[in-house]
């Protein structure tokens, strides 16, 4: 029998019990919808993290002050005071794979402009920082190398700080007080928005001053919290890592066998880690959702068994007029597949719909890939074949004489 005829027969058989068919499909609809939506959410989250990391640059390296062992007591990261500007200069001078670098040190401070005030983290760095992070100003300029050398009281604001202190007023050239010191606002950075995945909240809630100004006038410290470096390429960032480690161990006079008092992190490693964790979460969600697909499949099997019993006589007639076992089996298998596949398609529509809803209402990034849709189609078809097989086999094995006699 040709496929078109089989499909027509299947459609008609299913249309005969519309309520029953739709309820049976509902299991698959919910299953597929849930899988599509959760995978979409998971992939969306991954994409968002990847985009942020890509925006920062995959050739970025971090050097942070590490932990130190003082007579058996180990401090946490940031517990050492050994990382200094000299280290940055040495890296830039001796490791050609590193293109640029900037110090990172910070202190929290209260910023005051007229009757407005705002508490934020003030970072001390050099102009190179804005190049490394690819973070330009939207107004004004960043401070200069001269400002760094003279420990000038100049400040560059993130948009969140600028908005909170100045509202609609143009901040450029205005003087604000930072920890009771007057600073001249020279620039406002472009907005970077919120960051997720452990990078920490509103990236625009920040301000930058020359590293020397922060060290001498505000924090009173000589050491750095970290160094941000950009390598000439992504591959170079991997190659540079051990070189930096070796150089800093030498400069900090760490004997072989002793722990580093700093750490070097690669952005690519960080990306990998982020990716891995969101992947795991996606798989977890998807596997929970696919349980409902399994339940849906059992529903199909159940209803197909009922259908075979109800239509025993029809099966008998078909066999008497020449349907082979294969014909009967195919017919019922196709019916199950039509059920599951129709459910699958509606489920995909539902899943995509939920994804859009989540994107619009909650603002989460959702990514429904063609790959996920293709898998859902194949999977729902497989569910139909798997759970339809036994009822179809049962129908095909009926004895035509018995089946014809069935009331």
């Amino acid at each position: 029998m040709d496929l078109v005829s089989i499909l027509r027969i299947a459609m008609r058989a299913l249309a005969r019990n519309k309520m029953r068919s739709s309820l049976t499909m509902l299991g698959i609809i919910i299953g597929v919808g849930a899988v599509i939506a959760t995978v979409g959410l998971g992939q969306g989250a991954r994409q968002a993290v990847q985009n942020q990391i890509a925006a920062m640059g995959s050739n970025i390296l971090f050097v942070g002050s590490g932990s130190v062992n003082r007579g058996g007591q180990r401090t946490g990261f940031g517990g050492t005071k050994t990382l200094v500007m000299g280290d940055l200069d040495a890296i830039l001078k001796e490791i050609p794979l590193v293109k640029e670098g900037a110090p990172m040190t910070s202190s929290s401070a209260q910023l005051v402009y007229e009757n407005q005030n705002w508490s934020t983290r003030v970072n001390g760095t050099t102009p190179a920082y804005f190049d490394v992070r690819v973070w330009p100003v939207q107004r004004g300029t960043v401070f200069s190398q001269d400002d760094v050398e003279q420990s000038a009281n100049v400040i560059v604001l993130g948009t969140t700080v600028a908005t909170n202190l100045f509202g609609t007023t143009d901040p450029i050239g205005k003087t604000i007080r930072v920890s009771n010191l007057p600073f001249r606002v020279v620039g406002v950075l472009v907005s970077k928005g919120y960051s997720s995945g452990g990078m920490g909240g509103d990236q625009d809630d920040t301000a930058f001053v020359p590293v020397t100004t922060l060290q001498k006038k505000m924090a009173g410290q000589t050491w750095l919290n970290g160094i941000i470096l950009s390598a000439v390429s992504k591959d170079a960032s991997f190659a540079a890592q051990p070189q930096i480690t070796a150089l800093l161990r030498d400069r900090h006079r760490i004997r072989p066998g002793m722990d580093d008092d700093f750490f070097v992190r690669n952005m690519a490693d960080f990306a990998e880690l982020q990716d891995q964790s969101s992947k795991t979460l996606t798989y977890l969600l998807a596997s929970v959702a696919s349980v409902s697909l399994l339940v849906g499949g059992i529903g199909i099997m159940n209803i197909m068994l009922v259908s075979v019993t109800e239509r025993t006589r029809e099966i008998g007639i078909r066999m008497a007029i020449g349907a082979t076992e294969d014909d009967v089996q195919t017919q019922f298998l196709i019916e199950a597949v039509v059920l599951s596949l129709t459910g699958g398609f509606i489920g995909i529509a539902l899943g995509v719909g939920i994804s859009f809803l989540v994107t619009n209402l909650l603002g989460w990034a959702v990514l429904v890939s063609p790959w996920a849709i293709g898998t859902a189609v194949l999977f729902s078809m497989a569910v139909g074949v798997f759970f339809g097989f036994y009822p179809a086999r049962k129908a095909a094995r009926l004895d035509p004489i018995e089946a014809l006699r069935y009331e």
């Binding site: 040709d2 020449g322 349907a323 014809l404």
Partner: protein
């Protein structure tokens, strides 16, 4: 019309190919719970092309078992059944299904049409399993329905047709694949007397004009008389096998019967 004496089967002088059906010493056993039922106890019979045979017998006489076997729905426990020279008793289920499709047309007592399926689609059903092109399926089904006088009702559903009309659809369905034999199991069992004669009229016409071989099971002697030959079963054996004398012509009988409105 040939004459066969009681329990006599194939005579050596007759060419084998003349026989559409040839049954040789067939036995059939059933396991019914604990007891074994011996339904057919050595049946031998030959039916030639163009014959019109009525099989009679009380319930339990083995006539239904015999019909199921003729229809290739069942295989004999022992003995041979040749259909158009092929020993059916040796075939697989798949082959039997093909034979039922191509060589046998079934008409049942309860019509056995598919509900919510038009007369045309019901008639087309066997052609679906015969892998015939869509156009030809349609053509053949329309022709078959016209042949049984339902050319104007091809899009009616069984629920919109009278019993007689439903049985005609069933006959059209049985004929659509141009079978060698038409097997009818109590085709008039659910019909009133006039409609029964109308069905017999169709059978006689098909037999006379198309030369179709027909075997029908009935327990009504009046109906059996429309056939050319009557075989009577009792206790799993053929007890009587005789040619019908003074056979009525259904078409003429109809004229003497009062018209029944119910049919339309």
């Amino acid at each position: 019309m040939e004459i066969m004496t009681k329990e006599q089967t194939v005579t050596p002088s007759v060419e084998k190919s003349e026989y559409v059906i040839r049954v040789e010493d067939v036995h059939k056993y059933y396991q019914l719970g604990e007891t074994q039922v011996h339904a057919l106890r050595g049946v031998s019979v030959g039916i030639k092309r163009g014959e019109f045979v009525a099989i009679m017998g009380a319930s339990g006489s083995g006539k239904s078992t015999f019909m199921n076997m003729l229809g290739c729905l069942d295989k004999p426990s022992s003995g041979h059944y040749f259909l158009e020279g092929t020993d059916v008793s040796k075939l697989t289920k798949q082959d039997l299904a093909r034979i039922r499709n191509h060589q046998i047309g079934f008409v049942f007592q309860g019509f056995n049409l598919l509900a919510r399926t038009t007369a045309l689609e019901n008639t087309e059903l066997p052609t679906l399993y015969a892998r015939i092109s869509k156009e030809e399926r349609h053509q053949r089904a329309s022709e078959a329905l016209t042949l049984v006088g339902l050319g104007d009702r091809i899009h009616h559903y069984p629920s919109q047709l009278s019993g007689g009309q439903q049985q005609r659809v069933a006959i059209a369905r049985a004929l659509v694949n141009r079978p060698s034999i038409l097997l009818a199991d109590e085709p008039t069992g659910n019909l009133d007397s006039r409609t029964s004669v109308e069905i017999m009229d169709i059978f006689q016409t098909l037999n006379n004009e198309k030369g179709l071989t027909i075997v029908l099971v009935t327990h009504e002697p009046d109906i059996a008389r429309f056939a050319k030959r009557n075989i009577v079963f009792r206790d799993g054996k053929i007890r009587k096998d005789e040619t019908v004398d003074a056979r009525p012509v259904a078409h003429e009988v109809l004229r003497t019967m009062p018209a029944v409105d119910v049919d339309d």
